[in-house]
Amino acid sequence: MSTLDDFRSDTRAWLEANCPPSMRTPMPEDERVWGGRQPSFKHPDSRLWLERMAARGWTVPSWPREFGGGGLDADQTQILNGEMARLRCRSPLFSFGISMLGPVLLKYGTPAQKARHLPPIARGEIRWCQGYSEPGAGSDLAALATRAEDRGDHFLVNGQKIWTSYAHYADWIFCLVRTDTSVKQGGISFLLFDMTSGGVETRPITLISGASVFCETFFTDVRVPKENLVGRLNGGWEIAKELLQHERGMIAQIGRAIGGVVPDVDVIARQYLGDAQGRIADPILRDAVARHLMNDRAFALTVRRAGEESAAGVANGGVSSMFKYYGTEQNKRKFELILKLAGTRALGWEAPGFSADELTLCRSWLRSKGNSIEGGTSEIQLNVIAKRVLGLPD
């Protein structure tokens, strides 16, 4: 116990000394650091913060040190997260490499793949995107048709992906491809390749919010070296499913993070409806605000309980689908309530006439609609809970 206490005081001291004060403020979405070959550091201190955290292995605190991680155990990782939250330290790096690819490479990658790909992920030097969905393979992901033909020393990849998040900024892609057309799930493989390979083309998709975070991605005779196959040939579905669990956890968090750019509903309510004492006079809206914030708190307590259960070795298998489902639906409810509270002030599309914060309310409301679609729809999550947790028949 005392060694954990030592770790906590050392961690606190290091963060106090090394996290710039500017990195302890709420982070606007456009100041997030995603790394990559052409990294963008909109806030100048964010580069320094990333470099210091990466040097310590704390962009990926629980990964082994040999791959750029911090080598921390579960208790230490929890302490680090707790201390970062206490100081309000910004997350130094947002990365699909960290949150999605890393955990499966650690489990399924060859020693050479781990040594090649994990350290640049930890340092934020390579930005990854995820090639999963296709026009004909959404909820029915295993229907994917992008082909990878065996050409001796390489695979030849042809096909199309869609909803590839940030593909237009990504350096590499982890991609599900069909290597056997005679079976469905059993004919899928998991490939890694460089987005600068010949034959790769990305086209951003404009969303209802006006933003373009997703792309259509086209592959025409892309040559992928054989060494870039992760796991065994036709063994990709198992990896894909495992990665989806990491993705769900991340989206539930990102949903909250997107929500985090926008104040809580009580703040909006007081701003637009509060009397001089900050009371919400309308009893129906006050009840709606209370209901929402109480559900937020119930959800946060459930996330905490799941963490404690996992640490105590009594984890419940259904939590990633439950968190994905509830977190994203709750985030959508937040924005619908904000629209009611702020009225037409939250319905502005462009200046003039609206503050930047008001315009963010509107765009974030539209963006939130995707939370319950991306990474497995709410309906798929409920199917997963019904089958895996409740044991209901097919």
């Binding site: 009580d266 309510a269 007081r270 509060g274 004492q277 900050g278 009371r279 919400i280 009893p283 006050r286 009840d287 605000v289 209370a290 209901r291 914030l293 109480m294 559900n295 708190r297 119930a298 959800f299 307590l301 459930t302 905490r304 309980r305 404690e308 259960e309 640490a311 105590a312 009594v314 419940n316 259904g318 439950m322 489902y325 509830y326 309906e379 999550q381 409920l382 199917n383 809970i385 019904a386 089958k387 947790v389 409740l390 044991g391 209901l392 028949p393 097919d394």
Partner: protein, 379 residues
């Protein structure tokens, strides 16, 4: 680690899981109902529960209590809620005993709490005067007279009052009818002249009664604590009762849900189990999420009460509100998903629906607790 059960709590849970289905199944409640049992509970069963330490969970060890705290109380209540066990667990062990421990003088505690812990003294807290929970809407007046007090008023929905060995009556010694200030709690024997107790049969077949206090004369010794100042202790004990009842409701909800799930797997229509239909699967998965959220709120509230945390009032309202919404959903769905059989008195699922609404109304429903939460938050 505050939101997972500790080792001693797991042992308590195992004991309760063995006890309630064997000794107090839903069938036992049906027998109490159908035989028009005058007491509405089984005193021998209550003594056995006391033997296991459950009547005295919130009684200090110095007075013979087992001192498992609110977390331990919640574990037992959850299992009692699963079997809809009719007992004085809520009125006596959860609310009455802590109220005496909080407000009573040393001699009052010594006179009553050991008997409570032994299962020999059933308590009834007479608080409500209106159809909806309104804990400081107290019109019952305690007028100062020579050598004591004279009580006049009316109480409704008093749990276990007609079988209680001691009644704890909340009355006003000062101030306006809706003021939190000016309240006091009096300890009465049921045979006190001027006190009339009438049992009011409720839909859940559990005990409740009305009290009429017509010039009830009490000595100074009947006052628990001091005049005018009962509210802070009463509110703390009510928060404990809210969180504890939320634990009971979690058990009731889990049992109704699991029975429904079993039915979805068993019942065949169109040649397949109805649980294979996506429309029903999704409804089951939604209930699962609400039950999980409720569990987190319940244990967080119980934990905060044991730690005397500053947020225990907010968490108690959170737990009770969440339990109310969850249980309304789960019991309605349970009847619907059982189909026609769910409407019959023969099938036990209806007992859960009936008990649920009484639990929801006891110590404040979801609307009460959301309004309270908002008020405490300053909006």
């Amino acid at each position: 680690m505050s939101l997972v059960l500790r080792e001693e709590e797991r042992l308590l849970k195992h004991a309760a899981q063995a006890f309630f289905p064997a000794r107090a199944p839903v069938k036992a409640l049906r027998v109490l109902r159908d035989t028009h049992d005058g007491s509405g509970f089984d005193r021998a069963l209550w003594r056995d529960m006391a033997e296991l330490g459950w009547a005295g969970i919130l009684v200090p060890e110095a007075h013979g209590g087992s001192a498992f705290g609110y977390r331990g109380m919640g574990v037992v209540l959850e299992e009692a809620g699963r079997s809809l066990c009719a007992s004085p667990l809520v009125g006596t062990a959860l609310l009455g005993a802590p109220l005496i421990a909080e407000l009573g003088s040393a001699s009052q505690q010594a006179a009553i709490l050991p008997a409570v812990a032994a299962g020999d003294c059933v308590l009834a807290v007479a608080l409500e005067e209106t159809p909806r929970h309104a804990p400081h809407q107290i019109a019952t007046a305690a007028e100062r007279v020579a050598g004591g007090y004279r009580l006049r008023g009316h109480k409704t929905f008093v749990l276990d009052a007609h079988v209680a060995d001691r009644l704890l009556v909340v009355a006003r010694t000062h101030g306006a009818t809706d003021a939190a200030d000016g309240l006091a709690v009096f300890l009465l024997a049921p045979a006190t002249p001027g006190l009339a107790i009438t049992r009011t049969p409720m839909v859940d077949s559990r005990n409740a009664a009305e009290l009429v206090l017509d010039d009830v004369k009490l000595s100074d010794e009947a006052l628990l604590g001091t005049a005018n100042a009962a509210w802070p202790a009463l509110e703390r004990c009510l928060d404990g009762a809210r969180a504890g009842l939320a634990a009971e409701m979690l058990g009731t909800g889990l049992e109704a849900f699991e029975r429904t799930l079993a039915y979805l797997k068993l019942r065949q229509q169109f040649g397949v189990p109805i649980g294979s239909f996506q429309a029903l699967k999704h409804r089951a998965a939604l209930m699962y999420c609400e039950l999980e959220l409720t569990r987190s709120c319940v244990i967080a509230a119980l934990h905060a009460l044991d730690e005397a945390g500053t947020d225990s009032a907010e968490l108690a309202s959170l737990a009770k509100a969440k339990a109310c919404d969850m249980l309304e959903l789960v019991t309605n769905e349970a009847v619907q998903l059982h189909g026609g059989i769910g409407m019959t008195d023969l099938e036990e699922i209806g007992f859960f629906l009936k008990r649920a609404r009484v639990q929801q109304m006891t110590f404040g429903d979801a609307e009460f607790h959301r309004a309270r939460y908002a008020r405490r938050r300053g909006w």
